[in-house]
Symmetry: C2
Subunit: 202 residues, 2 copies
């Protein structure tokens, strides 16, 4: 089920989607129990939250509400609404008093990570967060290899600039491996990205 933003861009669902929950992998296995990156991160964040490690939440999907029905004595029903492009990244919160901010994306591409996964507003937001002293990064998953990397926003911004200067429209997998940090995948937590933050900032 694919649908588009008002600007014609394809909408990629970010709320837990029952259709994706038991998505069978290309190799025929149910490795990682078919969880999406978002589900893995939500469970990771819940793990951090209940153990007082960090308080990080995913922001709700932005929706432009046009029409609401409100039958008497029952719940209001939104009858017409549209998906909006997010003006910030999807995840933020606090770790040891510091502001944490990130976006998470996955690609089926085996050799590179397409920059079209991000949009100009998000890049601008990341610059603003860095200028304000926040900790900002992206979590990139190469689904074919089940590999997940943390790439600091300062590096993403450099690759974005390369593209706007006429360079390639993606980050090669080698570049992600060299400049990013692979996050070991586990059971609890699934994607322990705070461990990388500890190495980089503490």
């Amino acid at each position: 089920m694919n649908f588009n933003y008002p600007n014609g861009k394809r909408y990629i669902p970010r709320e837990p989607d029952s259709e994706n929950k038991l998505k069978k992998k290309k190799n025929g296995s149910y490795s990682n129990r078919g969880m999406t990156l978002e589900e893995d991160l939500n469970e990771t964040n819940e793990y951090y939250r209940v153990r007082n490690i960090a308080v990080i939440h995913k922001k709700p999907t932005p929706v432009q509400i046009v029409q609401v029905d409100y039958p008497n004595r029952s719940a209001a029903v939104i009858k017409e609404a549209y998906f909006k492009l997010a003006s910030t990244t999807d995840y933020n919160g606090v770790y040891k008093g510091k502001y944490i901010d990130f976006e998470a994306k996955e690609t089926q591409n085996p050799t590179s990570f397409p920059l079209k996964n991000f949009h100009q507003h998000q890049i601008l937001h990341m610059e603003e967060v860095l200028n304000q002293g926040g900790i900002c990064f992206v979590i990139l998953r190469f689904t074919r290899y089940e590999q997940v990397f943390l790439l600091e926003a300062k590096h993403l911004l450099t690759f974005w600039e390369r593209m706007t200067n006429g360079g390639r429209k993606s980050i090669t997998k080698e570049e992600v491996e060299q400049q990013g940090h692979q996050i070991p995948l586990g059971f609890q937590p699934r994607i322990d990205y705070i461990k990388i933050i500890d190495k980089l900032h503490y």
Copy 2:
């Protein structure tokens, strides 16, 4: 136009609402140009953002999407969705590297601020943010007096505990005046709450 959450609670719109934009005040004046607290805060945050003072955004209203139509070659239309209760506060972001988190509410009540403006999930979230070293507070507006206060979350939690121990279900205006900090209202920015944060934390 009032409507309710699935749990029967009244929905108070948090997205800019055209109906409220030119709301005439009880006293017949259009003082403060009839802006809602949310609009004033959004403009204040935009003022901070463009001047690199702080990066603080309102989170989107959480919505449970049930049905989406996706006509070919046009925008996806959400045909059925419901308002969800937020699990966190509405505003967060970064100021000088520090995590900032707050909720904003207004009351018509002239003598006290009803605690029913907050819900248990938000109180829990504020506790978690404080435990993690974040800066957390509420912005309270007494609409009849056009007075806006910043009350640190630690004080709100004390009043909440008093209520759960059988005490009063509101904070008196005197208590807000004594334990909170009145925010002078201006033109640019409208509600300069960062000034209070500077006094309290820097």
